[in-house]
């Protein structure tokens, strides 16, 4: 049997870094093939070459035995290669049907297209209304738009880049049913992920990349997750550790917090209530777009609310802005690293001054004390192992993981009373993520209260004492994190957003 796609010696270098170095592997028809690796291992570059977005420097590709050199995504799609992107390539202000039409070479008339979308969505158990605006859809529904867009082209190879990072556990189950059905029909799937358990349940074969090189291949069902992790990282990882302890007094108390969002696609917060105690980590789980950004901006002071709704050590702070809250000890690290947590074109020193000016006394009568500011930036770099030439480097120049360590470290070293972080390890590789989690645990150990908002449920179960779910702007009652199962969490997260699974048993 000839392989569907055969890749030989693919190499791509960017100035200063070799993204892919002599990578070879083959995908059989109907196979679910995993591409595994840390951030920066070269997975994205590799699939971009297969999809025609990037041209390789060296190496050859063969599709069904014929030479395959797509000059642009259009050519790839014409050859039967489709891709679902990690950062959705969707247009929020356009309808589902319009979004689908944009991804097709020769779209049918709008009415026929709507009918075909309905037909395909029913066949594969992915219900979708063609007339809805994408901006109003949940992350899981948006992904369905992308998948259906691909399926309408009848692909031979479907590339999926980190498809499950934004889904609830139930939605993941449904996605897997769809993928298995596709693979049974003969469509090959190239599945990119760093979630090892998922790969073990879904994939037939795996290729593992590290630093641009292929370091191994395996049959995921036959090996352990730990074995694959070791191949991926090149060393074994330690679990975050901490001692058991009793929580102290209530540091942050929120009651009746309702916020209308600033943007038309935001989610309103409805009567959110929570409290965190000294020495405690409160985990807030939820699929993106359920009010996380609004909650963070209400807690940070970017959105002002009635004074009494948020109290810090009994003191009302709801009507205070971010600087006043920082002065009192309530610090925040938002999700968006470039543009929200850090100013991309300013140096690390300047970025340190932006949030730490008050608590670290980095200015005197209106003048910035640059010496002291540089000292503080260097302290963050040293303590949090930020890999950078020095504090004069622009924030934009750091990789995602390093910048994340920097912005979290900047807040932690200000010795907060309460720290709120949103997606602390999003897009961060496994070893940096472990370091960040350990730092958050150490902070709680030292008597601070920590709120972690995250989509990564494994992460929340690992570090939080109590867990609550944010769903459509409502926060559930907290439950002890220890002993909580994935199914229970999935139900707390609102199940699969009213989906019906046609392949397997019905899901709420």
């Amino acid at each position: 049997m000839t392989a569907l796609l055969e890749i030989e010696g693919l190499t791509k270098a960017y100035p200063g870094v070799v993204a892919n170095d002599d990578v070879s592997f083959a995908i059989q028809p109907g196979e679910v093939h995993a591409l595994l690796g840390e951030n920066g291992a070269g997975k994205s570059t590799l699939v971009k070459m297969i999809y025609g977005l990037v041209r390789p420097d060296r190496g050859t590709m063969h599709l069904r035995g014929a030479p395959y050199t797509p000059a642009e995504p259009r050519a790839a799609r014409a050859a039967g290669v489709a891709m679902v992107f990690q950062h959705f390539s969707l247009f929020e202000a356009l309808s589902v049907a319009e979004n689908v039409a944009l991804g097709m070479e020769d779209p049918p008339k709008p009415r026929d297209l709507a009918a075909r979308i309905r037909a395909v969505s029913e066949t594969y158990g992915l219900p979708l209304d063609p007339d809805r605006m994408v901006g109003d859809l949940s992350a899981g529904e948006r992904q369905r738009v992308e998948i259906i867009r691909c399926l309408l082209q009848d692909p031979k190879l479907l590339i999926m880049d980190e498809p499950t990072s934004v889904l609830t556990p139930q939605e993941v189950e449904i996605l897997f049913h769809t993928l298995r059905k596709l693979s049974a029909e003969g469509t090959a799937i190239l599945y990119i992920s760093h979630k090892l358990e998922e790969i073990r349940t879904l994939c037939d074969a795996a290729t593992i990349l590290r630093l641009g090189k292929k370091v191994g291949e395996c049959t995921p069902r036959e090996v352990t997750a730990a074995y694959m992790a070791e191949l991926m990282v090149g060393k074994s990882l330690s679990q975050p550790a901490r001692d058991a302890h009793e929580p102290g007094e209530v540091l942050l108390h929120v009651a009746g917090l309702s916020v209308t969002p600033a943007s038309p696609f935001g989610t309103p917060l409805r009567e959110v209530a929570l409290e965190v105690r000294a020495g405690e980590v409160l985990g807030i789980g939820g699929v993106a777009g359920n009010g996380q950004d609004e909650l963070l901006s209400a807690l940070s002071g970017e959105t002002l609310v009635a004074p009494g709704t948020i109290t810090l050590k009994g003191e009302p702070v709801g009507a205070l802005g971010p600087n006043a809250r920082r002065a009192l000890g309530l610090l925040c690290a938002p999700e968006e690293r470039l543009g929200h947590a850090a100013a991309p074109d300013m140096s690390l020193t300047e970025n340190a001054v932006l949030t730490a000016r008050i608590r670290k006394g980095l200015d005197r009568s209106g003048f910035v004390d640059w010496g002291k500011a540089r000292g503080f930036a260097e302290e963050i770099i040293a303590r949090f192992d930020v890999r950078t030439p020095g504090p004069g480097v622009a924030a934009r120049a750091l990789s995602g993981g390093n910048l994340q360590k920097y912005v979290i470290g900047r807040e932690i070293l200000q010795a907060p009373t309460v720290l709120v972080v949103n997606q602390p390890t999003w897009g961060v590789d496994a070893s940096a993520a472990a370091a960040i989690r350990q730092a958050l645990l150490d902070l709680a150990q030292g008597g601070a209260a920590v709120i972690v908002i995250s989509q990564d449920l494994d992460e929340l179960l690992e570090i939080s004492d109590r867990f609550c779910a944010l769903n459509e702007g409502r926060l559930s009652a907290p439950r002890p994190a220890r002993g909580l199962s994935m199914e229970e969490i999935g139900l707390m997260l609102g199940g699969a957003h009213d989906m019906h699974d046609m392949a397997g048993g019905a899901v709420a």
Binding site: K48, G52, L53, V54, E72, P73, R74, R77, F85, H87, F88, S89, L90, F91, E92, A93, L94, E98, A101, L102, G103, P107, G135, S263, P264
Partner: protein, 307 residues
């Protein structure tokens, strides 16, 4: 009563035509995600190029084509600066206006007061002289009808065709459009050139048909009104038409009020078209969330292909 409603409406349509053309062109440019603040400069370039061509060749058709070419040529500078050299769109647009005003003054230095040919009307005299509807519907210039047709065409293309969908997609998220394989830069350059040609045609109409003379700085802020129209009309072609007519109506009305010597300061009357248009459109677009939905999300952002 010395203000005749029929002649007022006729004047309204004529006065609004240059603004309408410039605004509908800019609407397409902004829908593709580019903010070109150089409308005033492109209009005045169209005005001077059109006037020179009309005087030198005696052909109105060539005059309008020259106006379009002048506006488009100036917009090409903006396109190169913002799409290839990644320059800031706001600064480039402002510079374009200043440059266009200066260049037009230089080109037109020998032309004030020169004669231009009369532009023939499309409908025969018998139809134009029918009571009331004759002047209102059939007495205008071809370019005026063209401008209104262009509004309808732009609406149709943007909402009903694949071309329009691609333009809107590029303006909504250039990264997503690029990932799907659309040529963001090429689409935007074409939109910018279209906007330049429309503004140039508006300028040529102003100098060749409406004023029949070249005067330095004769656009007098019409380009800025066109820009304001697009935003306050929430990027909807139909509302742009309404806004342009409102602007033209007040402008025509205030001239007649000045002639009637009513007891309102002249300065206030002069400012009234600008004030009233902006106030009305601000009120119309006061529902912020609905206006934001129609606004191109990538407007004014520099696109840099990452791969």
């Amino acid at each position: 009563m010395i203000i005749d409603p029929v002649t007022l409406i006729v004047a309204l349509v004529t006065v609004s035509t240059p603004v309408l053309l410039a605004a509908i062109g800019e609407l397409v440019v902004e829908k593709s995600g580019v903010l070109n603040l150089g409308v005033e400069g492109m209009m005045i370039m169209g005005a001077v190029c059109g006037f020179i061509a009309a005087h030198e060749t005696g052909s109105p058709t060539l005059a309008f084509l020259a106006g379009m070419a002048g506006g488009a040529a100036l917009s090409l500078i903006f396109a190169v600066l913002t799409q290839f050299l990644m320059a800031n769109q706001v600064a480039s647009g402002l510079a374009l206006t200043l440059f266009g005003l200066g260049l037009a003054a230089l080109l037109g230095v020998a032309y004030p007061g020169q004669p231009v040919p009369d532009v023939a009307k499309p409908f025969p005299e018998a139809i134009r002289e029918i009571e009331v509807i004759g002047p209102i519907l059939f007495s205008h210039d071809l370019v005026t009808y063209l401008a209104v047709a262009l509004v309808a065409a732009v609406w149709l293309v943007l909402t009903r065709t694949r071309t329009g969908l691609i333009i809107r997609a590029v303006g909504e998220s250039h990264d997503a459009a690029h990932a799907l394989g659309y040529k963001v830069v090429r689409i935007r350059i074409l939109a910018i050139l279209f906007g330049g040609a429309c503004a140039g045609l508006g300028g040529a109409f102003l100098s060749v048909v409406r004023v029949e003379n070249w005067i330095e700085g004769m656009t007098a802020g019409a380009g800025w009104i066109a820009l304001a129209l697009v935003v306050f009309a929430s990027w909807k072609p139909g509302r742009v038409l309404l806004g342009a007519w409102l602007f033209g109506g007040i402008a025509a009305l205030q001239l007649r009020l000045q002639a009637a010597e009513i007891g309102v300061p002249v300065a206030l009357l002069d400012a009234s078209p600008y004030l009233v248009t902006i106030i009305v459109l601000v009120l119309m677009s006061s529902d912020r969330t609905r206006a934001a939905l129609n606004a191109p999300a990538a407007l004014g952002r520099v696109f840099h292909a990452s791969s």
